[in-house]
């Protein structure tokens, strides 16, 4: 399969952007800044296209093909977003925001009792004693303690002994349960954090494979050399700027 010049150019650009965007982790430099702005430009243009597509496909098409005139409503509210350019009347753009927010809030509020609360409550009702399976029994007891403790941790206004936390018996029980909740959450956070390492490494492997592929390797080498120079230059600039640090800060503040 012969590659066209555009295909080859595309691979070179893709490889260069990949290397240059990674370079930020080491130090901000001109090639990162270039790639970043190129990416932002394309992304904003893409977002513009998606917006247009949403309007035409989800908004106008139902009106034209199915006669669903109600879709005129979001189009009117959507047009109000342009109100922000009207100076004194810029506030009419708020109607657009609040209209969109109305949909999101409603979806969230109406599903919250079931999905966020009742389902979680139901899943927390676990058999504490399972005949013949001591490990599972202990697991369930531990889980229930963590859940109850966690819920108590999030209680803001009902605190045994008041906010001064007097050492009453109720307070002691509350305190022990809350500790279960906190420690349980710590275990959860540690496990979840560690679990994502694998996916992150997997994605990185994907990018490395692309960079090392036969089509891209040439571009990769060139991009790496260029970025090494750019980072070296950035360090030099920083050392120079270090002497006049105070001045440098105001200079960068507009970028």
């Amino acid at each position: 399969m012969a590659l066209s010049y555009w295909d080859i150019f595309g691979v070179w650009i893709a490889a260069a952007i990949t290397v240059w965007l990674y370079s930020f982790a080491f130090k901000d430099n001109v090639l990162y800044k270039f790639s970043e702005h190129l990416f932002l430009g394309v992304a904003a243009g893409y977002s513009f296209t998606l917006g247009l597509d949403a309007i035409s496909r989800t908004g106008i098409t139902p009106i034209v093909t199915q006669g669903r005139v109600e879709y005129i409503v979001p189009i009117i509210f959507g047009l109000l977003f342009f109100g922000k350019y009207l100076g004194r009347y810029a506030w009419i753009a708020r109607y657009g925001s609040m209209f969109v927010l109305g949909v999101g809030l409603s979806i969230a509020v109406r599903t919250a009792p079931e999905a966020f609360i009742l389902k979680q409550v139901a899943a927390s009702i676990l058999p504490l004693y399972i005949p013949g399976d001591p490990i599972m029994s202990i697991t369930h007891i531990l889980m229930v303690l963590i859940i109850i403790g966690g819920i108590l941790y999030f209680v803001f206004t009902f605190i045994p002994g008041g906010t001064e936390q007097r050492p009453t018996t109720t307070y002691k029980v509350y305190d022990i349960l809350v500790k279960f909740g906190i420690y349980g959450m710590m275990v959860g956070f540690g496990a979840l954090f560690a679990r994502t390492v694998m996916t992150r490494v997997a994605f990185f492997i994907g990018r490395l494979r692309f960079l090392m592929g036969p089509e891209a390797i040439g571009a990769t080498v060139v991009a790496v050399i260029l970025v090494a120079i750019a980072i070296g230059y950035a360090y030099m600039q920083e050392r120079k700027g270090g002497a006049q640090a105070a001045g440098a800060q105001t200079a960068t503040s507009s970028s």
Binding site: F26, M198, G206
Partner: protein
């Protein structure tokens, strides 16, 4: 500054850690070591299921992912295809997601050996991206030729030999759903499994696995191959350790490096802390 503090400061230089990380991932990719992995009963079950399929199995393959997810999903699908191709299958590829066509081309580059053995239109076909989500999924089950008059490349499907064998849901022996989302699994359960009892096989991202687990437990799918790990196991079973297997080594090295840094960081942190505690006494 004490020696411990100096070492601690060197360890804290993030650039050092990043360079080491790149090296640790690159080395095993260039030169896989093949650190042994255990093969889970779940992947083995999938392998055995495919092994038991009759000759010339008819398989529908749903390609439902975007470029970022390819690293995790392509190896699994690739290994399964390498296994399937030994049985001279009839493969119908389809995508209910817009990024499908890009991913299908990428798949062809990923397992060229598989596609070399298959003839387009006769042994395999790619229908391209179909709009309509679950409704399209249901229409496919009722007859592909009729629902999709033209394939991804604009060829008319009416006279394609493959559809003599694989057209309606009941013709198929297996549906493989390769996805980075959760919805599409449910579509196939509702539209292909429930009415026609076509066996389903899931190839999924590791983050998705918990949410599709119930379908497998309930027997609505014959099994699942999850993430790079599952793919690596399947590659081993097929006897062709590939990119997922190499990735497992890279994963081990990267994890090992991070763990080492965490432990070293703690050791020096405590040395410094204890030194500081003693300092005022002196």
């Amino acid at each position: 500054m004490s020696a411990a503090e100096k070492i601690y400061n060197i360890l804290s230089t993030r650039q050092l850690l990043y360079v080491l990380l790149i090296i640790m991932v690159l080395i095993p990719l260039l030169h896989p070591f093949g650190i042994p992995i255990s093969i889970s009963s779940r992947v083995k079950a999938v392998y055995e299921y495919i092994e038991k399929l009759p000759d010339h199995p008819k398989v529908l393959i749903e390609i439902y992912y975007e470029p970022a997810a390819a690293t995790e999903l392509e190896p699994g699908l690739g290994a399964i295809l390498r296994h399937l191709v030994k049985k001279h299958p009839k493969l119908v590829f389809v995508s209910l997601i817009a990024t499908g066509p890009i991913m299908f081309e990428s798949l062809k580059r990923y397992v060229p050996d598989v596609f070399k053995q298959l003839k387009y239109g006769e042994d395999y076909v790619y229908l391209g991206f179909l709009t309509g989500g679950e409704a399209a999924c249901a229409s496919l089950a009722r007859g592909i030729k009729e629902f999709v008059p033209k394939d991804n490349y604009g060829n008319p499907t009416a006279n394609m030999p493959i559809f003599k064998y694989a057209d309606k849901a009941k013709d198929f022996d297996l549906v493989i759903i390769v996805s980075s989302g959760t919805d599409v699994f449910e579509w196939y359960v509702r539209q292909w499994y429930t009415p026609y009892h076509v066996p389903l096989l899931f190839v999924a991202l590791s983050v998705i696995a918990p949410s599709i687990e119930p379908f497998v437990s309930a027997g609505q799918a014959i099994g699942m191959v999850v993430g790079q790990r599952g793919a690596a196991e399947y590659e081993l079973l097929v006897g062709k350790p590939g990119s997922a297997m190499a990735a497992m080594d890279a994963q081990s090295f990267a994890h090992g490096l991070i763990i080492t840094f965490i432990i070293l960081g703690n050791i020096f942190y405590w040395i410094i802390r204890l030194q500081k505690k003693q300092a005022p006494a002196r």
